[in-house]
C-alpha cells in the first residue's frame, strides 16, 4: 500500500528498478503539494478542491529533475494496448497504468467513483486475470482483463487512452542537495507565488468564501450533506496520506532535513505536521455537520473560518520556508 496512487506506483517501480527512495521524497521532489479550488468548469458536476498537482505532473517533474528514464505509451487500439501490456509483464517488467477507478472491482463498492486519474501497477497475468498492486488495496489484487480494458479506455475528462509507463533506467545517484531546494521553491511558488485567485493560499481563501454558496448549488439537504462530507474524503481518504497531503509533505521535509543536515527544515516539518492536523480537524468537522445535516449558514461560516485559518497558517509557513530554503 501507499499513501497516494501516483507517487506510490512511481515509488514501487523505482524500488523494483533498484533505486531506494521513499514515497514522501518522490512527492516532495516532484513538488506534488498544491491547492486549487475549481468552481467553474464544464468537467465538474459540483465545485471541488484539489490538493496535489495535476495527474501526471509529478512523474513529469521527477523525469525532468532526475535522470530517471520513463517509457511512456498511449494507444488508440485497445487490442494493441493489451498485447503490449502482456508483452511487458511477460518479460517481468511491472507497468503503471492509468485507469478509471470505478472499474477496480476489488475495492469496496462505496469507494469506487468515476475518476480517470487512478494509477495501478500491473505485475502479472494468470488466465484472464491481471495481477496488480494498488496503493489503496492491502493485497495483490486481481482484475478481469475485460474490466481492465474498460478502465484503461474509459472516456471522459482526463481519459486514460491506454496510458501506461515503465522505467527504462535509473541514475546511480540522485543529487538531493540540488533538487530539494529546487523542488521546495517550486512548491512555495505554487502556494504563495503569483497565481490565479483559485490556486495556492488564495485558492484556500476562495474555497472558504465559495463554500457559503454551496446550498444554492445543491438539489436538497442530502445532496449538500454529501458534498460537505466529501471534504473529509478529499482530505483523508482519497490517497492523501492524511491532512490533505500535508503529513506526506511534512515527512518529505523531515527526510530532506536529515539529508541536508538542516535543523531549520526539521522545524518546518513539525510546523507542516501541525498544519496537517488543522486540515484533519476540518475534515472531522465537515463529516460531523454533514451527518447531522447541521448545514445552516452559521455552521458553513464556521467551517469557512477554519479553512481561512489554514490559509493564514500556510501563508506564514511558506513565507518562512522561503527564507529557510534560500539559505540552503
Amino acid at each position: 500500500m501507499a499513501a497516494h496512487c501516483e507517487s506510490g506506483s512511481l515509488t514501487a517501480l523505482l524500488k523494483h528498478k533498484g533505486l531506494e527512495i521513499t514515497e514522501p521524497m518522490i512527492f516532495g521532489l516532484g513538488s506534488g503539494l498544491y491547492f486549487g479550488y475549481l468552481s467553474r468548469t464544464p468537467n465538474l458536476n459540483f465545485p471541488m478542491f484539489i490538493l496535489r498537482t495535476k495527474p501526471g505532473k509529478l512523474r513529469k517533474k521527477i523525469a525532468k529533475r532526475t535522470d530517471i528514464k520513463f517509457k511512456i505509451q498511449r494507444f488508440r487500439d485497445q487490442n494493441n494496448a493489451e498485447l503490449e501490456l502482456d508483452r511487458l509483464i511477460g518479460e517481468g517488467i511491472p507497468v503503471a497504468c492509468q485507469v478509471d477507478f470505478y472499474y477496480m472491482d476489488y475495492i469496496p463498492q462505496w469507494e469506487r467513483v468515476h475518476a480517470n486519474i487512478h494509477f495501478i501497477t500491473v505485475i502479472g497475468k494468470e488466465g484472464d486475470e491481471y495481477l496488480l498492486s494498488d496503493s489503496y488495496y492491502p493485497k495483490i489484487a486481481r482484475i478481469h482483463k475485460d474490466n481492465l480494458r474498460k478502465a484503461r479506455f474509459a472516456g471522459g475528462y482526463l481519459a486514460p487512452k491506454g496510458f501506461m509507463y515503465y522505467i527504462e533506467s535509473v541514475p546511480k545517484k540522485i543529487d538531493y542537495e540540488k533538487l530539494i531546494p529546487l523542488s521546495v521553491k517550486n512548491t512555495i511558488n505554487n502556494m504563495i507565488g503569483v497565481q490565479p485567485p483559485f490556486i495556492g493560499v488564495r485558492g484556500i481563501r476562495t474555497f472558504a468564501k465559495k463554500l457559503l454558496g454551496w446550498p444554492k448549488l445543491t438539489r436538497d439537504i442530502d445532496h449538500l450533506s454529501h458534498e460537505v462530507m466529501k471534504i473529509n474524503v478529499f482530505l483523508e481518504d482519497q490517497g492523501t496520506g492524511g491532512g490533505g497531503f500535508r503529513f506526506l509533505y511534512a515527512t518529505f521535509l523531515r527526510q530532506a532535513s536529515e539529508i541536508l543536515n538542516n535543523i531549520e527544515l526539521d522545524d518546518m516539518s513539525k510546523k507542516m505536521m501541525e498544519i496537517g492536523d488543522g486540515w484533519r480537524n476540518i475534515s472531522y468537522f465537515a463529516a460531523k455537520i454533514g451527518k447531522n445535516r447541521d448545514l445552516g449558514p452559521e455552521k458553513l461560516e464556521e467551517l469557512g473560518q477554519m479553512i481561512n485559518e489554514r490559509a493564514d497558517a500556510e501563508e506564514a509557513f511558506y513565507t518562512e520556508l522561503k527564507t529557510v530554503v534560500s539559505n540552503i
Partner: protein
C-alpha cells in the same frame, strides 16, 4: 498527527497515513478509514433515497433512464457526452421524456457501456424485496444476489437471481 491518534480500527477500508511516531520520527502507518467507519450508513441512506426518488420519477415518466443513471453515476452532460461519444445536444435531448422515445438503439448501447450496465437495464429496474432494507449496501452482504451475465449478443443479458450463501 500523533501515531496514537491516527489508528482507526476498520478492516474493510484500509489506507496509509503519515504520522509522528512514538520515537518522534515521521513515517507511514496502515489504518482504517475514519469516515467509512463512522458514516457509511449515512452514505448508503442518502444513496438509497436518491435512487428511490429517481425511480419514482422514472415510473411516473417524468425523467428518462439516461437522466436516472447520469445522476447515479454523478456525471454531468459534458462528461456523459465524452464517455459515450454522443454530442452534448443529443445527450440533453435524450433526457427529455418525449425525445427519448425516438432514441437510436446504437445510442442506447453507448449509454449502457458508459453506465456499465446491460442495455436491457435502461428499460427495467430489478428490485429484490428481501434486499429492500439494504437496497444500496454492499452487494456482497445482501441476502439475495442478482447476477447479470453478458452474452456474445451485445443486447442480450442473462439475469440470475440467487440467495447469498455467504
Amino acid at each position: 498527527m500523533k501515531e496514537k491518534d491516527a489508528y482507526i480500527d476498520y478492516e474493510p477500508q484500509q489506507l496509509i497515513m503519515y504520522v509522528e511516531k512514538e520515537d518522534g520520527t515521521f513515517g507511514p502507518i496502515q489504518t482504517g478509514s475514519y469516515i467509512t467507519k463512522n458514516y457509511l450508513d449515512d452514505f448508503w441512506e442518502k444513496m438509497m433515497k436518491l435512487r428511490n426518488s429517481l425511480l419514482e420519477k422514472l415510473k411516473r415518466n417524468e425523467i428518462t433512464p439516461i437522466y436516472f443513471y447520469k445522476l447515479i453515476h454523478d456525471f454531468n452532460n459534458v462528461e456523459l457526452s465524452r464517455r459515450t461519444g454522443i454530442p452534448v445536444f443529443r445527450v440533453k435531448r435524450h433526457q427529455n421524456v418525449k425525445s427519448f422515445r425516438k432514441i437510436k438503439l446504437s445510442d442506447l448501447y453507448k449509454y449502457a457501456y458508459a453506465f456499465d450496465i446491460p442495455v436491457s437495464n435502461l428499460f427495467q429496474a430489478i428490485v429484490v424485496e428481501d434486499n429492500e432494507n439494504k437496497a444500496e449496501t454492499d452487494a456482497l452482504n445482501q441476502p439475495i444476489i442478482v447476477k447479470q451475465k453478458r452474452t456474445e449478443n451485445p443486447f442480450v443479458v442473462i439475469t440470475k437471481i440467487e440467495s447469498n450463501k455467504k
